[in-house]
Symmetry: C2
Subunit: 222 residues, 2 copies
């Protein structure tokens, strides 16, 4: 297993998070690093999706992963095993990352030589939606077992995402999940949102999601 650093993130001192986020984004743009903010509930499969994404893109791009977690190193261990550069950010009980916290991670991590950095945000559908991290794009995962009603209950999260991955489609036989209903609910909140149905476990749909990501990274570096 590869090594990874653990850093304890401090509470941000910036009063204007949006301004700070724009500054972080501009810096990343300058160094041609695409930052993807990946959000979801606990247990929706963020880390497994990341593993499948890394497997598909690691020969094309230099990839790094920043794993934000309240306390544990479980996910950073899994990601380090894929061979990409990885760092664990401990939020010290805080339920989200803002731009200042993200920047602490970026500085410790050293992202200048990376093409794609994925920030795996804290598992939470509420708080992370309220803070712009400075990412190039926002992505979220909704898994089939969570139910197709989630856009009704966590509207802000679905409104601020550029792309939603519907994960664990391999388990659809044991759940009542209406594909059309979920797409309609997401597009009502966010008409331009891209939606991909995937199974990080079986690999189904990962091609389409990776094509979108590839296109966005190229666009970012123009």
């Amino acid at each position: 297993m590869d090594e990874f650093k653990v850093i304890e993130i401090k509470r941000s001192v910036f009063e204007n998070n949006d301004k700070e986020a724009d500054r972080v984004r501009a810096e990343l743009k300058k160094e041609k690093t695409f930052l993807l903010n990946l959000m979801s509930s606990p247990g929706s499969g963020k880390t497994t999706t990341l593993k499948a994404t890394i497997a598909q893109l690691k020969d094309e791009f230099k990839i790094g992963v920043m794993e934000a977690d309240i306390d544990s190193d479980v996910d950073a261990k899994v990601i380090a095993d894929t061979g990409v550069k990885s760092i664990q950010l401990h939020t010290g009980g805080m339920c989200h990352l803002d731009a200042g916290m993200t920047e602490q991670g970026i500085k410790e991590f050293g992202t200048a030589d990376l093409d794609l950095v994925v920030l795996e945000n804290v598992g939470n559908l509420v708080c992370p939606a309220e803070f712009d991290t400075g990412a190039s794009k926002n992505a979220m995962i909704l898994s089939v077992p969570e139910g197709d009603d989630k856009p009704l209950k966590y509207p802000l999260m679905f409104s601020i995402c550029d792309v939603v991955l519907i994960n664990k489609i391999d388990t659809k036989s044991v759940f009542d999940f209406d594909d059309n209903a979920v797409v309609e609910r997401i597009h009502k909140l966010n008409p331009d949102c891209e939606i991909y149905f995937i199974s990080a476990k079986t690999g189904e749909g990962i091609d389409n999601w990776c094509s979108w990501l590839r296109k966005e990274i190229k666009e970012w570096n123009k």
Copy 2:
């Protein structure tokens, strides 16, 4: 469908939440109302578990449900259909309930004639764990699709609960979920925690969980 009231909860003004929580708890004890604070991730099955619990206990106890949600009324509608008294608390974007917010709900709801009130907290494994609501007992649901590693990643939530329900056991065939590992991880954080394996959908295990709840309500009213 029965009617239910929607109230917009205001930010609490109390500086000392623990003291306020003790005061709420003492008031509830005096009026012989048992308040269960039910927490989980989004989509773990809180509302379906509540429906199964209500079906089993509604002839023995006068039950009320306070549904906390950021914005929607989806769950309150489902609960109102069971015939028990129900109210929707809108947290206005806030990611948890504290004791002051819970008390606003209790006062609007009118709980003096109820034996059991269930507070369905905001779907979130992080923030609700940090605030004592004044409940008699804390319960959480972890669903099989979320994975057996969740106690490692959200340790505070598992530490403060009196009981953990492992839900959606009917879907175990499509997930890798280690019952022994999850029990060991929970008990390492919280040796006295009660754990019940249930399927709110099929009804499996609901008897055991309701026996525990029945015993606790009787204990509370002694």
